[in-house]
């Protein structure tokens, strides 16, 4: 009969959600406790699955020493695991590097892998021996390839590698401990429990090389959206026989695209948004959904969208009518006016010149970035770091439709 272990990563316990902004009243508590409630759900999962052990692939906390509340909750959770003899193997990642004393140090039943050099720990289970290999980050920015340092050794039984690393370059994630799938395969582990990338990702089938993704989505960014949780890994002897995701998040970030084609007026627009939201809420299975809607396409309601504060007002209007399971986080628009851009490009109008300017920049991302960086120089606050690099193409599209809308409005008025 297969035995199981649980693979979790990037928990960032008790850290604030980023990029959410002010939400309507009543959701502060839910948001504040979401990551810790997800941790409790992870512990429940370990107990329910009768797991042999739990591996944590880094970034348990958002900073090296965590928070008092987070440490307390972790301690209680591990005590629950300890009561059932479930061991915990953990590495530290770039957010919580092992620069001093680990917040997990001294907790019974927990093995924290040392920094810089991979080590291994073997446990003798009734189903056979299991050797867990791992290495912690000693500092935030680890640039060396740690995967090359792993060695399976001759010990019998299952071998699990635990590593916080970057498999290639990923948007929105710093490149730390870079390595390749080939590097990992060469280490001859039976399962690679990876951390750092917040979206669940199966990088390789045999052996399984898996990013568990963050336990709880942390922001409206694409990688944080959708279901989040952990991985249940089933093994027999020295072989992983199956693995599956379990959804443990308590708050879910979702995004919908709502095309405005065919929408004649504001009522149509609101209806379309609500319909799109309803489908997402059903899939969230009772969780609180923080929804970002992006209006796309072209249509006459674009005239509304370019009005000052219109989208903000629309979001508030929708949000005020929702229940406890849905929060409209933001409504953005890349939609445009109901014009044929190709036809416009061929015209002699100034709008054609404007459209051409946008087209030119769209074809030259470096120049676009340069211009955005120049504009963003005004912003010195750290909260705005990287803003100019965020979805430059999308921003250009939004700007284009905004400008075209205004230009054509002028035309229309003419």
């Amino acid at each position: 009969m297969p035995r199981r272990f649980i693979h979790a990563a990037d928990l960032h316990l008790d850290s604030p959600f980023a990029g959410v902004g002010s939400l309507r009243e009543g959701f502060a508590d839910v948001m504040r406790d979401a990551s810790l409630d997800a941790w409790d759900a992870l512990i429940d999962c370990c107990l329910d699955e009768e797991a042999e052990f739990l591996v944590i692939s880094g970034d348990l906390f958002d900073r090296a020493d965590g928070t008092p509340r987070g440490r307390s909750r972790v301690r209680r959770g591990i005590e629950r695991l300890q009561e059932r003899g479930i061991r915990v193997f953990a590495v530290h990642g770039n957010h919580d590097p092992l620069s001093g004393r680990s917040p997990l140090a001294g907790l019974e039943g927990v093995h924290v892998f040392r920094k810089d050099v991979p080590t291994s720990e073997t446990i003798d289970l009734p189903a056979g021996p299991v050797t867990v290999h791992g290495v912690s980050f000693g500092k935030r920015e680890v640039t060396e390839n740690l995967a090359l340092k792993f060695e399976r050794g001759d010990a019998p039984g299952l071998h699990v590698g635990v590593l916080h690393c970057s498999l290639g370059e990923r948007e929105g994630h710093g490149t730390y401990a870079p390595c390749t799938v080939g590097d990992l395969v060469a280490a001859r582990m039976d399962y690679w429990a990876l951390g750092h990338i917040h979206a669940y990702s199966e990088e390789h089938a045999e052996p399984p090389i898996i990013y568990a993704g963050t336990l709880q989505g942390r922001s409206p960014k694409p990688g944080e959206r959708g279901p989040h949780g952990a991985v249940v890994v089933e093994f027999e002897g020295d072989r992983v026989v199956a693995h599956r995701r379990v959804e443990l998040d308590r708050v879910r970030f979702e995004a919908v695209e709502v095309p405005i084609e065919g929408l004649g007026d504001e009522a149509d627009l609101e209806r379309a948004l609500r319909n799109a939201a309803a489908a997402v809420v059903v899939q969230a299975d009772g969780r609180v959904v923080l929804l970002r809607a992006t209006l796309t396409g072209r249509g006459p309601v674009h005239e509304l969208l370019v009005r000052d504060e219109y989208l903000t007002g629309l979001r508030s209007a929708l949000d005020d009518q929702e229940g406890d399971d849905l929060v409209w986080e933001r409504i953005v628009s890349t939609a445009g006016p109901a014009v044929d851009l190709d036809e416009l490009r061929q015209s002699n109008a100034f709008a054609a010149e404007v459209l051409g300017a946008f087209d030119t920049l769209a074809a030259d991302p470096a120049e676009l970035q340069r211009q955005l960086d120049g504009l963003a120089k005004s912003f010195t606050d750290t909260a705005l770091a990287g803003l100019s690099e965020e979805d430059a193409a999308g921003r250009l599209a939004t700007a284009r439709e905004l400008a075209l809308g205004l230009l054509l409005e002028q035309d229309g008025a003419a």
């Binding site: 850290s15 502060a28 509340r69 404007v354 955005l372 504009l375």
Partner: protein, 803 residues
């Protein structure tokens, strides 16, 4: 289009005025306060709407009250004439030459533009515009100047740019304090500050391990201090106590009990005396018994002597043994048997002798074979026993017995031979012989009996019939001898016992001790009484000494307990100055109190830290503040994000506009160059403006010789002239690029020019008027004259002063 008629219905002070310009150049002149500017403003107001606010231009409310209103008749390029009548606050009314409304479209088509701003920038200008020519190096001014260039597409960049900038500025402006960005930034700052404060407050808890370790270390340090101070105090107390203990020990030592001078008998001596005293009655009794035993022995010996005498046994001869007795018995039996036989045979012989006996067969005497054999056997046994025991008498007796037995057997054998027929003949004889023989045998038996007696040391006179007495005497002798021996032995033993005790007593008492038992007992008893007295004295002394020793041991134990073998401490105690010690104790008491206070505080601080950690672990404040800060940052980012998008759109539209402008600049400049050359008689041949909006780029004018002179270095008059040429070129360019034909309104643009340049400028205006309707408003006659000189066919309309 051109303007054919201007009528002020109600407008400032010119209500009722009608002006009818002609195609080409119309100069409308008059003195100050004749309403020239009002007429210009009326045209603009009727065509584009009256300014609603003061900032949008002169309002020129009608002096007679009511709403501003006026009419402007225009002749479209196709020759159709329309009347535009506008009353502020009401919609504009367009009618054709028949007075029929024709709708706004006709006006729009005629104007070709919607922006009053553009009309102001291109079609309307005055002397102040010319004066601002030096600002051409300002990109915005240049863009404005060249704005007409973008009108060819039928749309204006400026409204779009303005709208984008307005929205962007509404979000964020440098140094702005009322925009959402500023508010969001303040919120971020405040949230961060609150978070920092909370983190600072929770800092100890956040660094829980360190904080806890520090608090625990403080407790440990305080404890060490307390222990050290307490130890110092305890050491001092111990010194003082030790000092007192040493004094006490010395005092006790001096209280040792004096010796008594009495020699205490040893336990062994006393025990010996007591044993002697106990044994002396035994000795007395033993001696008494010995005397009795000796008497008994003497009596028994006397009895034995008498018994011996009775059987003739010598005093020293041993009593015959049992074997001897057996021999004696056998000999006696043999005697008695032989005597009985002899008697019988004698009786027979006597009988035979007295009675004639018939021939009868006389039975011969029967030999006593059994007797002889028995005697031999007994004798042999006696010999054996005698040999074995070593009793000669027995052996001899045995030998005799054997001899007797053998005699009996021999004698009897002869006599027992069967009597033949001869015997019968001599029966009496035979009986006689047999009796004699029997008597001989008897005699032999008696001889043997006597021999046996002698052999046994007995008197030979003893008879066989005395045998039992003899034997009984033997028993008496033996009994007496034994009793005497026993008594003698007992006497000897008792005497030895008594002697031994006496010897011990004498040995114990020593020289001069009595020998008599009772005296000895008295002496020993007295000695024991003396011993008891000595021992009591010794015991009392010993008790005193023991009590002293105990006190001494206690005192020493106290010293040892306090000093714990520390010689230095003892030395220190001995050298201790008690007064100084008391003072030092006060100091140490203070130190202990201080250390105890610190210890208490440290424990409280530790508890506080633990409580802080527990509170921090249970508190959601930090998380909420962190989330608030993150939310504020998100809000700030959202504002900045929107601003960035707006600014990007603005930048790109601006770039498009500039590019569009750049593309159309050559035409403007070519036209302007022609005008400039005309106006300056060829001194300047063209102008050049910098590309785009490069910082520091300067507009230049190029002379006949190709020399370039920055605008900023030109005289005011030349700048005005150049500006006029550029504006003329713009008007031409706008029109030729597909823009509508519009009248050009000029207000005293020649004011700041010297006569030469004024003439040149007038020529430019006159030239412009050959292609467009020009309405020139002035109050300066020299300007009118200059224009007349340049265009003798111009139309002049003179206005009268209104007041």
């Amino acid at each position: 289009m051109r303007i054919a008629r201007i009528e002020a219905i109600a407008y400032g002070a010119i209500g009722g005025r009608v002006v009818e310009p002609e195609p080409g150049l119309t100069v409308i002149h008059g003195p100050n306060e004749s309403g020239k500017s009002s007429t210009m403003q009326l045209i603009r107001g009727v065509l584009f709407g009256f300014p609603a606010l003061r900032g949008e231009g002169p309002r020129r409310e009608p002096k007679g009250g009511g709403q501003r209103s006026g009419r402007v008749d225009i002749v479209a390029d196709d020759g159709r004439r329309f009347r535009v009548e506008r009353t502020h606050g009401s919609s504009v009314v367009i009618t054709d030459e028949h007075g029929e409304p024709v709708g706004d479209a006709a006006l729009m088509r005629a104007l070709g533009i919607t922006s009053v701003d553009l009309f102001d920038r291109v079609q309307t200008f005055d002397s102040r515009d010319l004066a601002s020519m030096g600002l051409l190096d300002d990109p915005s001014v240049r863009a404005g100047v060249l704005a007409s260039a973008v009108l060819g597409g039928g749309a204006g960049a400026e409204p779009v740019l303005s709208a984008l900038q307005k929205r962007a500025d509404a979000l964020y402006k440098k140094q702005g304090e009322n925009q959402p960005y500023a508010h969001a930034l303040k919120a971020v700052t405040a949230a961060r500050r609150a978070l920092r404060e909370a983190e600072k407050d929770a800092g100890a808890a956040d660094r829980s391990a360190d904080a806890l370790a520090e608090a625990e270390a403080r407790v440990a340090r305080a404890n060490e201090q307390l222990v050290a101070a307490t130890q110092d105090l305890q050491r001092l107390d111990r010194l003082v106590q030790l000092r007192a203990a040493l004094v006490e020990a010395t005092a006790v030592d001096a209280q040792r009990p004096e010796a008594t001078g009495v020699e205490e008998p040893s336990v062994e001596v006393v025990s010996e005396y007591r044993a002697i005293l106990t044994d002396l009655p035994v000795a007395i009794d033993a001696r008494r018994r010995a005397t009795q035993h000796e008497a008994d022995a003497a009596g028994e010996r006397e009895r034995a002597v008498r018994a011996r005498e009775r059987v003739g046994l010598a005093g020293t001869a041993p009593v015959p043994s049992i074997a001897d007795e057996s021999g004696l018995r056998a000999a006696a039996e043999a005697v008695r048997e032989a005597e009985r036989e002899a008697t019988r045979l004698g009786d027979v012989a006597r009988s035979a002798a007295t009675q004639l006996p018939a021939p009868v067969e006389v039975a011969a005497p029967t030999p006593r074979r059994g007797l002889g054999a028995a005697l031999i056997a007994v004798s042999l046994i006696a010999i054996g026993i005698g040999w074995f025991v070593g009793i000669t008498a027995t052996i001899i007796g045995g030998i005799l017995g054997v001899a007797v037995g053998a005699a009996i057997l021999g004698g009897l054998g002869a006599g027992s031979r069967p009597a033949g027929p001869q015997l019968h003949a001599t029966a009496a004889d035979q009986h006689q012989a047999a009796a004699a023989q029997a008597e001989a045998v008897a005699e032999q038996a008696r001889a043997a009996w006597r021999a046996s007696l002698v052999a046994s040391g007995l008197a030979a006179e003893l008879r066989v019939d005395q045998l039992d007495d003899v034997l009984a005497t033997f028993g008496v002798i033996r009994t007496a001898d034994d009793a005497a021996a026993r008594s003698a032995a007992l006497a000897q033993a008792d005497t030895a016992t008594a002697d031994a005790i006496v010897a011990r007593a004498i040995a114990a008492l020593g020289e001069g001790a009595p020998t008599e038992l009772e005296q000895l007992r008295t002496a020993v008893d007295r000695a024991l009484h003396d011993f008891d007295a000595q021992r009591e004295i010794a015991a009392t002394h010993r008790t005193d000494v023991q009590a002293w020793q105990h006190r001494r041991e206690l005192a020493q134990a106290h010293v040892d307990d306090l000093s714990r073998g520390d010689a230095a401490l003892v030395a220190a105690a001995e050298a201790l100055d008690l007064e100084q010690a008391e003072a030092q104790r006060d100091v140490l008491d203070g130190q202990v109190d201080a250390a105890r206070g610190e210890h208490t505080e440290a424990i409280a601080a530790l508890g506080g830290t633990r409580a802080l950690i527990e509170n921090a672990e249970d508190s959601t404040d930090l998380a909420m503040l962190a989330q608030s800060a993150a939310d504020a940052e998100a809000d700030l980012r959202a504002v900045a994000d929107e601003w960035l998008t707006l600014q990007l759109a603005h930048t790109i539209v601006e770039q498009a506009r500039d590019r569009f402008v750049e593309e159309h600049q050559p035409g403007v400049f070519e036209r302007a160059a022609t005008q400039i050359a005309t106006a300056t008689n060829g001194s300047w041949v063209t102008v050049r403006m910098p590309d785009g909006e490069k910082a520091g780029a300067r507009s230049e004018i190029v002379g006949r010789d190709g020399a370039r002179t920055p605008f900023a270095e030109l005289s005011e008059g030349t700048v005005g002239l150049v500006y006029l040429c550029l504006r003329a070129g713009l008007v031409d360019e706008m029109h030729d690029d597909g823009g509508p034909e519009l009248p050009v309104l000029m207000d005293d643009v020649l004011t700041h020019l010297d006569p030469e340049r004024r003439a040149g400028a007038a020529a430019v205006i006159a030239d412009l008027a050959t292609r467009h309707q020009v309405l020139y408003f002035t109050c300066h006659p020299e300007q009118v004259q200059a224009l007349r000189d340049a265009n003798p066919g111009l139309t002049e309309i003179e206005l009268q002063r209104l007041v």
